[in-house]
Symmetry: C2
Subunit: 502 residues, 2 copies
């Protein structure tokens, strides 16, 4: 490699690392805002975040970055995978940011920080109307951003692409068109069955401190490294990778039902294992980052549902749960418990939904946000549209805003295109697990002995360690030999419904 090339690569890395550091500071500021910040801090927090975003923008539109990329693009990189990926990804970032003004970027961050605060207050008051003007403001800004980025193309796709590179709304529509009838068929089987899991086996109050202890021990046993991470309580649980060596997950415990906090914890654990498995040595370069949100969600849903709601998992953990919460679960059999944690029943809330109906919740949000982005649905009509969709697809009308249109904070944070990645995650998780199962043999025997290491190691190699090396579709293809497809998910859900509902 020539001196000029080497120098360019070094300078690029320096610029890119500064962006990563600014980004990691923003991540910490956001984590703190959710977990620790007193209410009075929100105004300055919005300005701190705006400044970090502005400084990152400044670096990405710096002509020097374009020049460095020109130099590195002019010579194809022999055997330097990181460089090729970094050049590709930084060029993409540079092209996006050049279409936006710094003032606009900063204002967006500032407004969405305040909007999240207003959202939380509206949820507290169970009143969508006070938050609607803020959502409207967010929507306008996101549509403006999308217009600037899309060059006449689809506004929704251009936002989606940032979260899920290469994905399109058309692909997702097709996916839901294939998936929804299958899910509704399964739901019909469930509702028609005479068998009903006994939910009384979960309804045993456990103090939050005990729940926290058991969740933490389980999460540690599954491979999360607490010297490089932490577990907190949060109203809206989430996971962030502040930096290599600093990954933070959270969950929300209900004193009356341990399963909410536990499975939510496993979900975030899945995110956390991915984050802890990314190639830390590439911090500062795009190749060191996650492939996409869909891949991220696939890890979360895999540990939460495919592993966490599996009979063999509980063969190992159920006696431990009985002991940790003794004597509350002494009279519950493993079978009854297994049925209860896998109950299928339509509910209002996405985060508490079973595996079958979950994707219907997602589909509703996907359709609504796409309609808003395309100007077919106004914020003023959102509540009504939301309730109509719930009646149509789940046969339920939310009794209030908190159980309805206000339940998720994604739009308040300016994120459009996030929701469908949950279903992509479910689909990909099923594909990955099927492939791992085929390759690794009898995983259930291992799980029953408390051994999750070979599955984790497979995921590390096939997914985590690869970072942003290839796009999500290619990653799935290389890991499983298949394109993204709902077949494995439908098959797995059919098996489970059959096992529980006959």
């Amino acid at each position: 490699m020539s001196d000029r090339l080497e120098r360019a690569e070094r300078d690029l890395l320096r610029l890119s690392t500064e962006c990563s550091l600014l980004d990691s500071v923003s991540t910490l500021l956001e984590w703190d805002e959710e977990i620790a910040m007193p209410a009075g801090g929100v105004e300055i927090r919005s300005r701190q975040l705006a400044l970090m975003a502005g400084l990152e923008h400044e670096r990405l539109v710096d002509p020097r970055l374009g020049e460095l990329l020109d130099i590195l693009e002019s010579e194809p990189s022999e055997n330097s995978l990181p460089r090729a990926v970094n050049v590709r990804e930084l060029r993409k970032l540079e092209q996006r940011q050049k279409k936006l003004q710094r003032g606009f970027v900063e204002e967006q961050v500032r407004v969405r920080t305040l909007a999240q605060h207003e959202y939380a207050a509206a949820l507290e008051r169970n009143d969508f109307s006070s938050y609607a003007p803020w959502l409207d403001r967010i929507l306008k800004m996101k549509r403006e951003e999308a217009s600037l980025l899309a060059n006449g193309g689809s506004l929704y796709d251009v936002l989606l692409d940032e979260l899920e590179p290469g994905m399109t709304a058309d692909f997702l529509s097709e996916l839901f068109r294939a998936l929804a009838p299958e899910l509704k068929k399964l739901l019909g089987q469930v509702l028609g069955s005479t068998r009903r899991p006994e939910m009384s086996s979960l309804a045993r109050p456990v103090p939050v401190a005990e729940q926290y202890r058991f969740a933490k021990e389980t999460i540690r046993a599954l491979g999360f490294d607490f010297s490089r991470g932490r577990l907190d309580e949060a109203r809206h649980p989430f996971t962030v990778r502040v930096a290599p060596g600093d990954c933070r997950i959270s969950t929300r415990f209900l004193p009356e039902d341990f399963s909410e906090g536990f499975f939510c914890g496993l979900h975030e654990l899945g995110h956390g294992l991915y984050d802890q498995g990314l190639p830390d040595e590439y911090f500062g370069s795009p190749i060191g980052e996650a492939a996409s949100l869909g891949i991220h969600e696939s890890q979360a849903r895999l540990w939460e549902n495919i592993v966490g709601r599996r009979a063999s998992f509980w063969k190992y953990f159920f006696p431990r749960l009985q002991q940790a919460f003794a004597p509350r679960f002494d009279d519950v059999s493993q079978d009854r418990f297994f049925g209860a944690i896998n109950r299928v029943a339509p509910t209002f809330r996405r985060v508490r939904a079973d595996e079958v109906t979950y994707n219907l919740h997602v589909m509703i949000r996907f359709e609504l946000e796409r309609a808003m982005m395309e100007g077919r649905l106004a914020v003023a009509d959102l509540r009504e549209a939301w309730n109509a969709e719930y009646r149509e697809h789940l046969g339920l009308i939310p009794p209030d805003d908190a159980s309805g249109v206000l339940q998720d904070g994604h739009w308040a944070s300016g994120t459009f295109g996030y929701f469908p990645t949950y279903t992509l995650g479910n689909v990909i998780a099923a594909q990955l697990f099927a492939a791992a199962h085929k390759e690794l043999g009898d995983l259930d025997a291992e799980f029953a002995r408390g051994n999750f290491a070979s599955l984790l190691s497979w995921l590390r190699n096939k997914v985590h360690r690869r970072g942003k090396e290839v796009g999500p579709e290619r990653l799935v293809l290389e890991a499983t030999g298949e394109n993204i497809s709902p077949r494995a998910l439908v098959a797995a859900l059919s098996d489970k419904v059959a096992a529980i509902y006959g």
Copy 2:
């Protein structure tokens, strides 16, 4: 005011606000490092902090700042107090930063973040030697910084001036020379007395959760606003003002002795009340900041000791403590309790020292850090020198490093000149309280009824709301009519010793 002047003032404010935002982000990063960050995060944290410091440096040495200050200095500011103060303070900052290179500033921040981590590990292992090379590295950097700033003047003074504007080592030496004999005389009276507080009245284990609740209630009752702040547990308690509306205090509870966590909490409360009382509307301008560390400590020591260890304070709070911790203190009389929390006895640890010996701990540190800064004491000889000083002034030889040279983390964080501000704080606190008492009348009657508002309001007007309007010496003079002097402190301590030891 001319257009040109107005524009310059606006531009200056923008630059200054960016510096304040960067600074507030650093503050949050440091708070998180102590309170929440997993061990694995330290490497990236050190680089995040270095980047923030580098960006702030860049703004302070920007020629545009110098030009703006030139313009504003050229026209004396009629009736614009904020502008005059801001120009004065920003010029001072600019002059300092121009003497340092950005790389040096960043490296210092990076190394001290790592050094603090090494310090904590050494304290855990109770072994000074593994940390000594890091302290040596810190010391070398601080001496280099001081040399660059001092232009041949005193290295210690130039560092001190940053924390305590206008203060000098000579003034402090004089202060200790006046104070130490008085303290030793009081200590002699105590040791010669036959009266001894019964310490058994404090030795009642209370679970930390209960201690936390009582401390928080008390802190709220004394005026701390929890919608604009929070209280955490920390190994080394501290207070930070992340931003207006976001002030964070912390304390450290011992299950076996509630008094440690409680009084430490009152100390940090004092810092917190000052921070919450600063003129928030000036965020982004130097005038909105604290006058000095000495003034800050005066607020902490005033609430911790003068208020918190006062008989009238406990007339109100003791029945509440008895109730909160019932039945543990049911057999303790208020008098015995009052004696126990005011016991005077030499100890190894500064943070647990009584009011009389406390300043001897400070004097020792002041002498040692001054000697290190002036090249008269090497880190390799620090432990021996420390122990010799303790033998001379307190008649004790620390049994190990954790009770000796390793007990404070200030030097690890690169802070030289902090310690003497504790004694300045004690001195100033006594002066302020004496003046308030004279002006406000019978404060003890108010305290006994749980009313601390008139004292707080006096402090708000005389100290908090003034921010950095004037220097600390002038502030004390205007609030009390006196120059900084140890007389009020000695008088107050003499009264207390007489009351308890006869």
